[in-house]
Symmetry: C3
Subunit: 266 residues, 3 copies
């Protein structure tokens, strides 16, 4: 059997030794697991940012991969911990909305509540279920334990509301979901939101500035040009060639993005 992959997504902070404590839990149970960091730079307690990362990154791993998501401000409270099988991946997470976007792509095949303490660390700290419950459960899954042994079915996952693209007269209104490490603004707009029209028919603006061009790749425009494009996750991105759009526009998550038919009065 090929070694199983276990991914980690947390808000522990890059460089935090808490990540290694989780890896110690995993490797104590399955030394052959292939452990891959997705990111530990989620803003503290920012479930929404992590939900977007999980939706963007996890489907790229092979089926059978196990994904740990530990953004868990409710640790120790009565929030549930679950294992959800979605598109043949297993997600081990607190049920706080982390899977809101993953489940829009694909409904869960199976969701169980983590309840059987045989699959947990012998001693469980109230403040670190990532280390003492979720990591050991992921390790047991990677050794072939089926989700059904982990606990009873869990009826309904928490689903966070999400800003949806909106039509207003001639305009399409979108939202900046995320700013990446290059300062690119990743929005909630996809090709399908453009009403089967050529993107070039739309003028894109954000924070009072209008993109000079639609491009297929960053280098298509001269350096420092504000451009719009569909990026590597198929979302509309606003970028500055060889520059930082977020800094130039002073943009933030949640800012509005406007698409206006080119040539229409402003």
């Amino acid at each position: 059997m090929a070694a199983k992959i276990i991914t980690l997504t947390t808000d522990f902070g890059t460089g935090s030794p808490y990540v290694a404590e989780m890896k110690a839990s995993v490797l104590s149970i399955n030394r052959d697991a292939v452990v891959v960091d997705i990111t530990h730079a989620i803003r503290p307690q920012d479930v929404r940012q992590a939900a977007l990362v999980l939706e963007t990154v996890t489907p790229r791993f092979p089926t059978g991969t196990i994904h740990l998501g530990v953004i868990d401000p409710g640790v120790g409270s009565d929030r549930a911990l679950v294992c959800a099988r979605i598109a043949d991946h297993d997600y081990v997470v607190p049920d706080n909305g982390l899977l809101s976007l993953v489940t829009r792509r694909c409904p869960p095949q199976q969701v169980v509540k983590l309840q059987d303490t045989n699959y947990w660390n012998p001693s469980v700290a109230n403040t670190f279920h990532g280390r003492d419950i979720m990591a050991p459960v992921a390790a047991h899954l990677s050794r072939g334990v089926p989700p059904s042994l982990l606990g009873p079915p869990h009826a309904q996952l928490v689903d966070l509301p999400w800003p949806e693209p909106e039509r207003r007269g001639d305009l399409i209104l979108g939202t900046v979901l995320h700013i990446d490490t290059f300062g690119n603004l990743i929005t909630n707009l996809q090709q399908s939101d453009l009403q089967n029209m050529d993107p070039a028919a739309w003028e894109v603006s954000c924070c009072g500035q209008t993109c000079r061009a639609w491009v297929a790749c960053y280098a298509e425009a001269a350096p420092q040009t504000l451009v719009a494009l569909f990026g590597s996750s198929n979302r509309l991105e606003i970028a500055v060639t060889n520059g930082n759009a977020a800094q130039q526009l002073e943009a933030h998550d949640g800012d509005a993005v406007h698409l206006r038919p080119r040539g229409s009065p402003t």
Copy 2:
């Protein structure tokens, strides 16, 4: 034989390519070693911060794990490099106090001085013994070389003084040892320092502010409440629910923490 785990703790900085130079040394000798980063975000030359990380994290790995600790301001000087077996883990470190806290949990079973150059890189830079001595030694250990071959016994490890909890009249005085990535203040106080009294009998204060409550987990209090709790390493922590205690209190490592019997005059 199961693959051996080698952990890395350094002050090289997250993102520093020096870490990969050490991994290259390890993998050149043992490609099957499972290499795990504990942290590279130790403040430059801060042996004490690293000593606390080693004490908190390393015992969670399986016995037989090899731990590299490269916080080595004395590199190239006459400070010794050692391999210390403690609780069936092997620590490969400069003898500068890095093991001061690990050895308080458990005295060393064996300590040798790294001396046999057969287990080092063929060429050794004066400024990077982590890459040219410690990493190759760890790799050889992971292939089954016994510590006794690495060099002669080393008599006495450097032991750094550490702030101890103190009793002053009715008060218990402690110290902030570390601020984690969430801004939680991790102190040198443990349950056993509370004189068999219910924690709730004590009022905890730091930097002139008093914790509103003792909790079992962060979410037990309303957001932005200053709370005290015993955290995942069994130490008294001061935290702000969904917030950052260090920022709110302007707290730093070394700050005093006071425990006063609840209801006593201030």
Copy 3:
């Protein structure tokens, strides 16, 4: 056959989930690859900084290692992607100068242009060839695909000009190439540039300050002393013992370094 090592060097930013998207591409094709991060903290689009890292770090890995370098401001444009075999390592990179320093050590044995789409992801985003072309190609190489199958020979790699040490009368003029995470200034001067003279015969200065001493290791001088030494990559470094030379000198990449015969008039 021993598992192959694949290293990653990018400007994605520490903590960026884009790195994990590349790892997902690799592991989907070869789950046994040993993936090692060199750094993701290259400044955005800074090909020169990455070229120096590749030259310093990659030769330390075993022969047969595959190195991915994804600093790719021209992604999606007509810049070539190549696989270059150099000193029995395989480099998979955009042809934009990333290998300028590696090839000065050792000329390439073979360079091919990545062209056969059979070794790419089925769907290729215009803005992320690291994920969709270079990572899959590296994974196929790690499974034994020979470079000749990837595409036709590529005639000439882009070679960036690089500041060379310069002689001016009695002086030797060098340049700061890089500032490491400790604040040490790494220069373009090597032992061989010192005209077979004892380093102690030269006085080293930068940003208007003169090093107090030449040392063999940082700890040889008292704390906070400005010193010169040949560092772990055999380059002349300017450092402050237990301090940060870059901060103290307000030094930057590209700053001039002067070597003057000791005792000569300034």
